[in-house]
Symmetry: C2
Subunit: 338 residues, 2 copies
């Protein structure tokens, strides 16, 4: 019996994830121990809230990327443990602040931290995690990697503000969307891969290769996330289907659908865009419109294009088992879209 191309790709992606998990396991145990110990504080509410989020079962894709990038090169220095934990702290700080900004109810399949401890504590514990991230970087004694993460922190914040300024903007373009996801999402993947390469002793060529790889991987990741927000058959993200629509987020599926919609379809979309109480029936109608214009399919295609570029970016790196894993793992990110 013929296996569909999509199923084959999904299988390859999952296989790559297993290989990545195995290849980084020993290092990730150190990273996870560091993450837990550095989420501690004598102020009780800090570790309670931080661990609630951190232990909620995120896949640790970003720190795993840092570790894998370090192991890809010949001279891993050990700094990748701190770098990887710092990357995960930056990511979690961003999640805490995002959930306040987006007024999200759910995160990783559980009530968002702000629903349990409030917006106030979520903002402040996010700040704590950001401070700890920089402190862990300082402790490695390496200023250049710290510069990569500090720069990433500013770009991520700019990207979030830009996204906010475009919320509900019917004139938002695919280029605006590209600018948003490069900044708010792909920059951290890029930084995670780059500091990993630095910890691994990569030369400038290797560092640039991992920087490009991380960026393309991050773009593919966000594109798929934005498809899942409308497809919603997946519990993988632990968020609510339709959140983006109700928050007025101008993601590629809605931009493409609006571009191609007839006036009646356009009215259906705009009536629910940015409306927190838009009903599920309206959402279903909008998904039908998206499918009519292949907006979700074209977004997945775009993700595939970035996967292709991610693989291509690795070309200058010497061949190794880890290189094959990193090349294959890009498929895993897109396989979530099926």
């Amino acid at each position: 019996m013929a296996v569909s191309a999509a199923a084959a790709k999904e299988q390859a992606g999952l296989g790559a994830l297993d290989r990545l998990l195995a290849a980084t396991d020993a290092e990730m145990q150190r990273v996870n121990a560091l993450i837990l110990s550095r989420a501690d504080s004598h102020v009780e509410m800090v570790p309670e809230l931080a661990r609630y989020l951190i232990e909620a079962g995120g896949k640790r894709l970003r720190p795993m990327l840092t570790v894998a990038a370090a192991l890809l090169f010949d001279h891993p220095s050990g700094a990748q443990t701190n770098y990887a934990a710092a990357v995960e702290f930056m990511h979690n700080a961003t999640l805490l602040h995002d959930d306040v900004v987006d007024e999200s109810d759910m995160r990783r399949g559980k009530p968002a931290a702000r629903m349990v401890w409030g917006n106030q504590a979520s903002v402040l514990v996010g700040d704590f995690l950001l401070g700890q991230a920089f402190l862990m970087m300082v402790e490695t004694g390496k200023l250049d990697a710290l510069g990569v993460l500090a720069k990433a922190a500013t770009i991520i914040a700019e990207g979030e503000v830009f996204q906010l300024s475009k919320a509900g903007d019917l004139l938002a373009t695919p280029a605006d969307y590209d600018q948003v996801i490069r900044a708010k999402t792909a920059t951290l993947f890029q930084a995670a891969a780059e500091v990993g390469a630095m910890a691994g002793g990569a030369d400038e060529t290797g560092r640039a290769a991992l920087r490009d790889y991380g960026m393309e991987l991050g773009l593919a990741f966000q594109l798929v996330d934005d498809v899942l927000d409308y497809r919603g058959e997946s519990g993988a993200m632990g968020k609510n289907t339709g959140d983006d629509l109700r928050e007025g987020k101008m993601t590629l599926p809605v931009i493409l659908a609006l571009n191609d919609a007839n006036p009646a379809e356009r009215e259906i979309i705009t009536a629910s865009l940015g409306k927190p109480d838009a009903p599920d029936t309206a959402l279903a109608q909008i998904v039908a419109i998206m499918n009519r214009h292949n907006a979700l399919g074209r977004t997945v295609d775009e993700a595939h294009e970035h996967v292709r570029r991610a693989r291509e970016a690795l070309a200058p790196v010497a061949d190794s088992a880890m290189k094959v894993i990193l090349s294959d793992i890009a498929e895993f990110y897109v396989s979530r879209a099926y």
Copy 2:
């Protein structure tokens, strides 16, 4: 005609401020230019919001402290410009997040940024400023000073969370209050003075002296702020009188008053504590109760004690005109309480 002791101290404090402004003027022009340029971004809302806050007329006490500490020593390296701007960015990031956490309406005599651009943008631009602060530190190439600020960032956030956990807690003690203000306020003054000393080429003794000086100065500053929140004849802070009471903040005046209050007085205080809509008439009653038990006076006394310790901390530093200014400037912080 005899001049009162309080008036004489106020005069000395204001005189010291003029001398500090003059002595740091050339350096502060560089700092201010850097602050403005680094608040810039291609994302329009970022500089709009950041400049609205930064240009609202804060006195730049913290960066001025960094510059003055650098000039106190023999070998200012120039790094104090970046350090001072980074300190001011950290401070403004904290203000943006605090106003969201406290739901404040006013800041520096104007509507708080969150009232103009919303909570969302305030959280995100705060994150941007924090990232820029670390980036400016990275650019100096000095890892040790960066470590001081990164550590300060985590302690400040912990202090804010601890304060939040004590909000409205009638069992809060003066020791709890001391822990809160050491962390949330005095730590940044301490870090500002310490990194200044580092930029000035101070040895370990000089660095420790400035660290202690900054801590004591910061404690005096916050004690006076917390008195002003009840005295309220001053527009200096640009916040609303009684905010602390209505937010349920357990500051020293309210802790001391609750300790000494009779049951009827206690009831009057607790009826308004943490009640956003507590009327001004209730506030006036509570201030009268505080005065009856000298709670505000004792808080000012405590501030004076920290001023004394701040001056004492400077003892190991070689005599100079700047040392006299820093010793005298401590009076300025307390003079605001009259």
